[in-house]
Symmetry: C2
Subunit: 224 residues, 2 copies
């Protein structure tokens, strides 16, 4: 590309690059916030990692909170689309569950624990409720409908059978996903270093059947 072309692109792209810069900011914010949490990431770090100065951030977002919530809502919306597609496939429940786990392990940068902590401690009530609603609709509901699906087919215990509600099961499932996704520490446990595919298989196995020996299932009430 010649210098003239580059110059032209830069000049003509004035308005266009505004959206591009906004996208860059959100992308940088996603990685930084996911790695260090809301409080530990400074607006200067975000600006620097996408090549602008800190005050320039405020041309695209009102304040730090708006950067955070915009980033989170965007991420949740992307995950929601993917999960809903997986949930509607015509394959066994266990297989859909495994694919959902696999997707989340590969694409969820933020762990729920840190996210909820940041929400309830750093954000305005308004933003809190918006994110919580999006989280429930985008992540929890698709998974809950999958568990409910299995319940209607009689494969999964209903509440009246001493089971757990689909929504609660979905939350616990997401919680376990996060455990693997945010394994920044736990290096002392060698088994934590499995492949993502193996982690997904393991979680599905745990949630469907627990850790009990199959041959022992009937006798467990007496011996365990």
């Amino acid at each position: 590309m010649s210098r003239d072309a580059s110059k032209k692109l830069r000049r003509r792209g004035g308005a266009k690059e505004a959206g591009e810069t906004r996208r860059l900011i959100l992308q940088a914010a996603q990685h930084l916030f996911a790695a260090h949490g809301y409080r530990a990431v400074t607006t200067r770090q975000i600006a620097e990692s996408c090549g602008i100065t800190q005050p320039a951030l405020y041309k695209h977002f009102a304040d730090k909170q708006e950067v955070y919530t915009s980033m989170l809502l965007l991420e949740v919306a992307q995950v929601k689309t993917a999960l809903e597609r997986i949930v509607q496939r015509e394959i066994p429940v266990a297989e859909r569950l495994r694919l959902a786990a696999l997707y989340l392990l590969n694409n969820t940068h933020h762990d729920i624990g840190m996210m909820t902590h940041d929400m309830s401690n750093e954000l305005r009530k308004e933003a809190q409720e918006m994110i919580e609603r999006a989280f429930i609709e985008g992540l929890v509901q698709p998974l809950a409908s999958l568990f409910e699906n299995g319940m209607h087919r009689g494969l999964i215990r209903s509440s009246s059978q001493g089971g757990v509600s689909p929504m609660m099961t979905a939350l616990l499932f997401l919680n376990s996903i996060d455990f693997f996704a945010s394994q920044s520490s736990y290096e002392l446990v060698s088994e934590a270093r499995q492949s993502v595919a193996e982690q997904a298989r393991l979680i599905v196995q745990l949630f469907l059947h627990g850790v009990t020996q199959e041959s022992q299932q009937k006798e467990n009430k007496n011996v365990l």
Copy 2:
């Protein structure tokens, strides 16, 4: 108590109250750090909530990090004692697991996710490793030995039978405990408002048997 006695106690207790103040600081730090995380809690908040000024903190601890690590090591040591006592009881594995879950739900203020985040982002390597070792020894190992116990009796699948390692199971178990313990948000999910006893029962049930219908266990491979 007369004024003279009080006065005497105060004077004589000079050295004694140093330890008492230290204890007060650790207690305040425990609640504050557990609720808001390392970064969000200021040394002034800790000092104020036990009735001293902020610079006085540094008569008892070298810096903020030392307050945090001292508090965490103390808490882990207490939990370790209780867990080891539960694990050694002569009752069924499932019952010991339920009692461990119950104890942790009632006494664990800190959630693991926030703890590991604070560790890896705010603390010196030296303190990190010390806490991680204490955590593994005090919380993970007792639970892992419980799962291993069930494995040796043939009640729980071993790794060669497609199962999970006892240590990994223990970590996932603790992770689920934390989900309930730190349910600051999730108020949209009504089922989250269960009694602690019900939460403990639910977690044990999930880890031992999963969510699958018992009557369907044998056919699951074909239909799920």
